[in-house]
Amino acid sequence: MSNERTRPDPTGPAPARAGDDPDQTLLDLIRDGDEQAYGVLLDRHLERIHALAQRMLGNAADAEEVAQDAFLRAWQQIPNWQPGTAKFSTWLHRVAMNLCHDALRRRRDSRPVEDIQPVSGEPGPEQLARRQDRSGRVQAALATLPERQREALVLSHYQELSQREAAAVLEISEEALESLLARGRRALRAALAEELEDLQGKGDGHRHGI
């Protein structure tokens, strides 16, 4: 299935408030040659980007590759970083998302489905659907969502980016973001109806699209 969306240039400017970047001091230190600042920047962002990639790809090895590539690009970009054009975090998330898209495309094009190793270590996505483990079932349901809905959920729910930031990463309006989120959550509820019943109690028969 081709991706109809135009892939934005991750190095281009994004909506941001100038002077509002919590990473600006670190970026300045890095440009001044402070080795320790790299470590601090990694400690601040590596886990989050690694987690983002896991939730997008459902695969630990691919997620590690995405995280590594994202930061290698950051090392190249930081010397040329222009303050005020975009928050570093927004830029980094966009790079990671684009790398995830590339990984998903390569996976569709070349890898047999059974070769994919899920995050939890259990073999095969078919087995995931039958697993007793809730995490696996939810991860499998996430993987069935259209990519844009999954992106929106990962950025808003898991990464807890603000509406403004998540919309900037996806290069859409906040209204469009909200629409993607609502559709994604609705699709997940449909796919995980049994799980929801377990969580809510079998006496509640209402499904109000929440």
Binding site: Y38, H50, L72, P79, H157, E178, L181, L188, G209, I210
Partner: protein, 152 residues
């Protein structure tokens, strides 16, 4: 004055963003919380949204391996600054154009005047970094360029 949030909008909000107020749009958060306080219907809807959140939160992720952090640090550009970056840091420490510029200009003027005869010199605040480098005999090695980064 903010208008009260309607229940319909509250439903849209939690349908998209879930049950946790920290994920709600900042501009609507207070109104949503106010509605929650006065509407049992809103509280009931919120309880159902919590269930969807719990499902999403059940997805486990592994921490990034330590070797990944080590690899990325090893691949970071070396801490040796580019000659321009070194000058910029040094110049900033001296107080920049406001403090060091006039002193440098005076020193250069004296040196040039003695060495090659008197001639008019640009004001200190007219210097750019390249001119300063050239006058101070600190022009970069011709093999270096702006994008020079030491290879690991």
């Amino acid at each position: 004055m903010d208008t009260d949030m309607e229940f319909e909008r509250f439903q849209e909000l939690i349908a998209a963003y879930g049950a946790e107020p920290r994920r709600w749009p900042e501009a609507e958060r207070e109104q949503a919380l106010a509605l929650l306080g006065r509407s049992p219907q809103a509280r009931e809807a919120l309880a159902r949204a919590h269930a969807t959140d719990a499902l999403l939160d059940s997805v486990a992720v592994r921490p990034a391996p330590l070797r990944l952090r080590r690899q990325l640090l090893a691949q970071a550009p070396a801490a040796r600054p580019h000659w321009r970056q070194a000058f910029t840091s040094f110049w900033r420490d001296l107080g920049g154009w406001q403090l060091a510029g006039p002193a440098l200009a005076a020193g250069l003027a004296l040196g040039v005047g003695i060495g090659v005869g008197l001639s008019p010199l640009p004001a200190a605040n007219g210097f750019d970094e390249d001119t300063v480098f050239q006058l101070a005999g600190l022009a970069p090695h011709p093999d270096l360029d702006e994008n020079w980064i030491d290879e690991p």
